[in-house]
């Protein structure tokens, strides 16, 4: 069996970290929480469109994940992502039903889950972003601003300017490629 040390965990894939639970449980649990927390939070933001609700989801999902791992219910280490995704869906359904049946678990695992809340989203350098937006073509800038201001779909943006959805997607594709290149200074 491979022996894991804390520094090696950082470089290991998710499944290897799950396998490391039997040897260094607290370090492996902390590493799994550190990795999964931002992913769960993004899932929450995408489906709930609310930062506080996404934070609540993250905490609940991490608690359920830790409980399942400790009880050996995640049998296949390679399937952790599927397990977490399924849990996200279930918890959101619960949240929408207004259920709060996690008080006991929260008491037991809250410390671990709370300690690994992902860092807050950090907007990029606004000066640089404004500069990059200025470099876009007029249509690209309008479409990117309107699409991202309140997460409007291509179809909605297309309707506003009398363009086809396919055309808006094409323009957005060009704009995002340029924007990403400009923001990263061509490093990616």
């Amino acid at each position: 069996m491979v022996e894991f040390f804390f520094v090696e965990l950082m470089a290991a894939n998710d499944a290897d970290v799950v396998r490391a639970l039997s040897e260094i449980p607290s370090e492996a649990e902390a590493e799994l929480c550190r990795r999964m927390a931002p992913r769960v939070r993004l899932y929450g933001l995408r489906h709930l469109r609310d930062e506080q609700a996404a934070a609540d989801l993250t905490q609940q999902v991490l608690i359920i994940m830790l409980e399942a791992l400790r009880e050996g219910r995640v049998e296949d280490a390679e399937k952790l992502a599927s397990f977490v995704l399924g849990t996200c869906r279930m918890v959101i359904l619960d949240m929408r039903r207004g259920a709060s049946r996690r008080a006991k678990l929260l008491q037991q695992y809250a410390r671990e889950a709370a300690m690994t809340m992902p860092r807050p989203l950090i907007p990029p350098d606004l000066g640089r972003l404004a500069e990059c937006l200025t470099q876009l073509a007029e249509r690209e800038r309008s479409i990117v601003v309107m699409a991202f201001y309140d997460e409007r779909s291509s179809e909605e943006v297309a309707g506003s300017f009398g363009l086809s959805t396919a055309n808006v997607r094409q323009i957005r594709h060009r704009a995002l490629t340029k924007l990403r290149g400009c923001m990263t200074g061509g490093r990616e």
Partner: protein, 187 residues
């Protein structure tokens, strides 16, 4: 799940705005949940979107918007100073510290054109800048142009002429000319 093929921003934007169909979305979500690299890329896209929202709310972008979008900004409580001169006329304008955004609403019949440029001229009519191929809806009779508020606050007494220029088979044609006589805010 390993990341043999990283998801690009375009696909991530489709996911984020709920445009993926019911077969693709679960696949993408499963990948994101198992891939730190792609979820970090989505995080960066979401942060950029937040940055765009911040810049738009500050009115710091020169960008063509729509009447409906403008209405939504107003509904959010933003203070928007708007000027709607008729084509061929001039308007006295300013921006105060209380204004969040500055908009020029340029009325014109653009139905005969497939391409429209916005041309920015000084008081003597000399072209100082051009926004080529702006988005517009031919059926609507107005171009809503957001002018950068922070730059406008620094202007003294100044004149800016904005022209809407239609580009068609016969070449360029000025569809509308609007003169903005700017004075600094007295405050």
């Amino acid at each position: 799940m390993s990341c043999l093929r990283t998801l690009n921003w375009d696909l991530l934007a489709e996911y984020w705005s709920g445009e993926l169909d019911e077969h693709r979305e679960p696949f993408i979500e499963e990948h994101l949940m198992g891939c730190g690299l792609c979820s970090a890329s989505l995080e960066s896209l979401v942060e950029t979107a937040e940055g765009i929202r911040t810049l738009a709310r500050r009115g710091d972008l020169r960008v063509v918007l729509t009447r409906e979008f403008l209405a939504r900004l107003e509904k959010e409580g933003l203070s928007i100073r708007q000027y709607s001169p008729k084509a061929g006329s001039s308007v006295e304008c300013t921006i105060t510290p209380q204004d969040d955004m500055l908009m020029a609403r340029l009325a014109a019949d653009l139905s005969a054109y497939t391409r429209v440029d916005t041309v920015f001229c000084d008081a003597s009519g000399v072209e100082r800048g051009r926004a080529a191929d702006i988005p517009f809806r031919a059926a609507k009779t107005e171009v809503v142009l957001n002018e950068p508020a922070s730059a406008a606050r620094k202007f003294g007494h100044d004149v800016m002429i904005i022209k809407l220029v239609g580009v068609g088979a016969q070449g360029e044609q000025v569809v509308g000319e609007y003169r903005f006589n700017h004075s600094p805010s007295p405050a």
